[in-house]
């Protein structure tokens, strides 16, 4: 990975993926839109006939619209699992309101004397609907479909969270990989799609009556055609299905390494970390990328496949502190180092299991641990300045942030402010360099590959050993950013491939090489 790579180069290099994602995105958008029209149009007509029902129906559609998109996707998982189905349903629900509302407004807005004339001419209810009301309401209905299209193109980026593909893969991959080119490679086409479809629909909307008749007939066909795009990229299969996070997909020590060093070829879908483990447990996925200390490993009976070719570099966690903060709070370094070497992989997995699966609060878990190690002291309530602690948005980081907070309060006179849940690496790191937090727990591998991004040669030379990675990262951070890596906490939260215990045993897969051999065996 090269920092100097331009957006254009990135897009060219990834053109295959870009094309696939764009097609998926268009497909997802229009499948949902087509279904939304199929549901929304009759519903709009229905409430235009039975006006009393218009308030409740529009109300419900309005409420659906106000549910945050991510939450709506989340609700869908227990009902429909992962993949395109829940994404399409969620997008459909989002697109529903403008379509229903505009159909209703369009039809009720048809001039009463025109409707009366149609009735008096001897037209039946259906003839009035198809020959008079719908054609006259069409510009308004099209405006609704247009709004729905733009909304859907936007929300469809979130579909990648639940393994439905689309341009969101680049966008969210880019955010977690700190790769601006990648974000833009997803965001720009998504924005362009929205603009293009909006423009095209505005042209349809402004056609005169004669042409609208033809356009109205063509539109459903066009929608269907575009909807089919979704199926083009996914027309391949393999024996097992892997679900990888967007971050894992784009990393040298992730999917790229799996392909280049192991030659692993597996049907892969992109999915968010939040639902991945559960999907594996529910047999919707067979192989997932995870973290070796994740509590869900234990909760869902998964095992880690041995990385026999060593492509996953060590991810030893240690606090990264701003040099300024160390000067400002002289006691800080000593206090933070109290945790050094205290937590190994097994302990961390256990702690994570308690928060992620048993749903104990991170404070409780942190305190129990400190008490068991005789490190816990009640807070002194000092006021010699406030140390700001940051953390990323997952359980392990919450636990660590809480432990540090308790140690600082118990052993020094400093007060603590915690800014937990700072999204991904990029957000945390930017907060640190911009003096918005004083330190946060980081992993050596992340520091190396996501933040420093040195040449492949350097990566190869240091990633083999724990100490070399740590030392390289430590010295580079100091010179480049004036940040200090304190002593490692002890555990190695590296990337790992995981499978269900039972399936791995059945297939006799223990390492990634075993997995490759199994997949190649046709």
């Amino acid at each position: 990975m090269n920092n100097q790579q331009t957006l254009w180069e990135f897009m060219r290099q990834q053109s295959d993926k870009l094309a696939t994602q764009t097609l998926e995105h268009i497909g997802l958008t229009f499948i949902s839109l087509f279904l939304a029209v199929l549901v929304g149009l009759p519903l709009g007509i229905f409430i235009a006939r039975k006006r009393k029902l218009s308030a409740p129906v529009l109300g419900i559609a309005g409420v659906l619209q106000t549910i945050p998109s991510i939450a709506l996707l989340g609700f869908m998982i227990p009902l429909l699992g992962i993949g395109p189905k829940p994404a399409i349903v969620a997008l459909l629900l989002y697109a529903l309101l403008p379509i229903i509302r505009n159909t209703y407004t369009g039809i009720t807005g048809v001039d009463a004397s025109v409707k009366e004339a149609a009735t008096a001419m001897g037209m039946s209810q259906w003839q009035i609907l198809f020959k008079v009301e719908l054609p006259l309401a069409m510009p308004v209905i099209l405006a609704g479909i247009r709004t729905a299209t733009v909304i859907t193109v936007g929300v469809a980026t979130l579909a990648s969270y639940i393994a439905a593909g689309g341009l969101g893969e680049f966008i969210f991959g880019g955010i977690s990989l700190n790769n601006t080119n990648m974000i833009l490679a997803g965001a720009i086409p998504a924005a362009l799609l929205a603009i293009i479809f909006d423009f095209l629909l505005s042209r349809v909307q402004n056609l005169n009556f004669k042409k609208v008749k033809t356009a109205t007939k063509l539109l459903p066909l066009l929608l269907l055609l575009l909807a089919c795009f979704y199926f083009i990229p996914s027309a391949y299969g393999s024996k097992l299905t892997a679900g990888f996070t967007p971050e894992f997909m784009g990393r040298q020590d992730g999917n790229l390494g799996l392909q280049s060093k192991y030659g692993l070829k597996i049907h892969t879908i992109v999915i968010s970390d939040a639902v991945m483990y559960k999907a594996a447990y529910e047999k919707q996925l067979d192989v997932i990328s995870g973290y070796s200390t994740d509590g869900r490993l234990k909760a869902y009976n998964l095992i880690v496949l041995k990385d026999d070719k060593g492509i996953f570099p060590p991810y030893y966690a240690a606090p990264v502190v701003r040099d300024d903060a160390l000067k400002q709070f002289p006691e800080l370094e000593k206090t933070l180092n109290m945790l050094a070497g205290k937590i190994n992989d097994t302990v961390m997995t256990e702690l994570n299991y308690r928060t992620d699966y048993l749903h104990q609060s991170p404070e409780q878990v942190a305190k129990d641990f400190l008490v068991s190690k005789d490190l816990w002291k009640p807070a002194r309530g000092g006021n010699a300045g406030t140390v700001r602690i940051g953390s990323k948005i997952f359980g392990e980081q919450y636990i660590l942030a809480n432990m540090y907070s308790m140690l600082i309060k118990g052993y020094t006179d400093y007060d603590v402010a915690t800014k937990t849940g700072l999204g991904g690496t990029k957000i945390c790191f930017d907060a640190l360099t911009n003096n918005q937090i004083d330190f946060y727990p980081e992993y050596t591998g992340t520091g190396l590959l996501v933040i420093l991004q040195p040449s492949t040669k350097t990566v190869d030379s240091v990633e083999g050993s724990r100490d070399m990675t740590y030392n390289y990262v430590k010295s580079e951070f100091e010179t480049k950013y004036h940040l200090k890596w304190l002593q490692p906490i002890g555990f190695n939260n590296a990337y790992a491939l995981m499978m269900r215990q039972k399936q791995a045993a059945n297939l006799n897969v223990k390492s990634i090489s075993d997995l490759k051999r199994y997949l190649d065996k046709k």
């Binding site: 001039d111 004397s113 025109v114 009366e116 004339a117 149609a118 009735t119 008096a120 001419m121 001897g122 037209m123 039946s124 003839q127 008079v132 054609p135 006259l136 009556f209 609208v212």
Partner: protein, 299 residues
């Protein structure tokens, strides 16, 4: 022939039409006259079942229309609306051909009939492919009339057909309307609030108030044999003009050389006023008219 018996329409507690009966003879024009809210439009709309009556019966050619399927019934009745109700997304040609399309006429027949009507209504064929919003108000109203007449229905219902037109256009269309042979073969019920229009176009007039018919009769009946003060007051303002327009030579039992018995006093005056030599005829006419008025008052 239309026969209406004890017709009522109640909207909740409001009696919009309250137990009215009337007849319209074949090839006759009956005008339902009255102020807004008197029930005249509700009455009209019950004749083609746009509104279903609360009570009473309606017969068209001795068939009870309440027993017929509304769509089929309506295709046999022409209907002209105040705001013309033309379909904005149909061309003039398509608008006129709506009923033939519903009746599944063949294309040639429809085309012939459309061009025949256009000619009779003084509309150029160039308008066939034009949308209604490109026409003037008077032209739109003519297209509305053509649409109602296309299938040559025996009965024509008109709801304030000329209400949206200015006075000059209205006068012109009135004249055309009276001259149109198609209309002479029709049984027409027309709704209006315009007294002059009612007297000019109606063979007979039903004056309505508060859902009831106050008086029905010929224009002459209403003018010279008003049933009560309401009828008298209703016609008061334009009385002289109405009389001039309604009374004909035949009514007065006079003959004036060069004029026919069916011509109204007003029409003859219009002809005479441009001719200085006809002072004698003018005098004769006015004398006869006042004589006739006096006689009517004494009866």
């Amino acid at each position: 022939m239309i026969k209406v018996e004890h017709l009522s329409k109640h909207f909740g507690k409001v009696k919009a039409v309250d137990d009215i009966s009337f007849r319209v003879n074949e090839h006759e024009t009956l005008v339902l006259l009255g102020t807004s809210g008197c029930g005249k439009t509700t009455t009209l709309k019950m004749l083609n079942r746009l509104i279903d009556p609360t009570a009473g019966n309606i017969y068209i050619n001795n068939k009870n229309i309440l027993e017929q399927q509304p769509e089929i019934l309506r295709r046999g009745i022409g209907y002209v609306l105040q705001n013309n109700g033309l379909f904005p997304h149909y061309t003039v040609g398509e608008n006129i051909a709506i009923v033939p399309q519903l009746l599944k006429w063949d294309k040639k027949q429809t085309e012939n009939r459309v061009s025949e009507l256009l000619e009779k209504l003084h509309l150029s064929k160039d308008y066939l492919n034009v949308y209604p919003n490109e026409l003037s108000g008077g032209q739109q109203q003519r297209v509305g009339l053509a649409r109602a007449l296309i299938a040559d229905p025996e009965v024509l219902l008109m709801d304030e057909p000329f209400g949206a037109l200015d006075n000059v256009t209205k006068a012109k269309i009135h004249a055309e309307f009276k001259a149109l042979d198609e209309l002479k073969r029709k049984t027409i019920v027309m709704v209006t609030h315009d007294v002059q229009e009612a007297f000019e176009l109606g063979d007979r007039i039903c004056l309505m108030d508060a859902g009831k018919i106050v008086q029905q009769g010929t224009p002459i009946d209403l003018l010279f044999k008003p049933k009560n003060k309401f009828v008298r007051d209703f016609l008061k303002e334009q009385r002289l003009q109405l009389e001039f327009r309604s009374v004909t030579l035949g009514d007065m039992g006079k003959e004036i050389a060069g004029h026919q018995a069916g011509q109204s006093v007003w029409a003859i005056m219009e002809i005479l006023k441009n001719d200085g030599d006809k002072v004698k005829e003018f005098e004769l006419l006015t004398t006869a008219f006042y004589q006739y008025k006096k006689e009517q008052a004494h009866e």
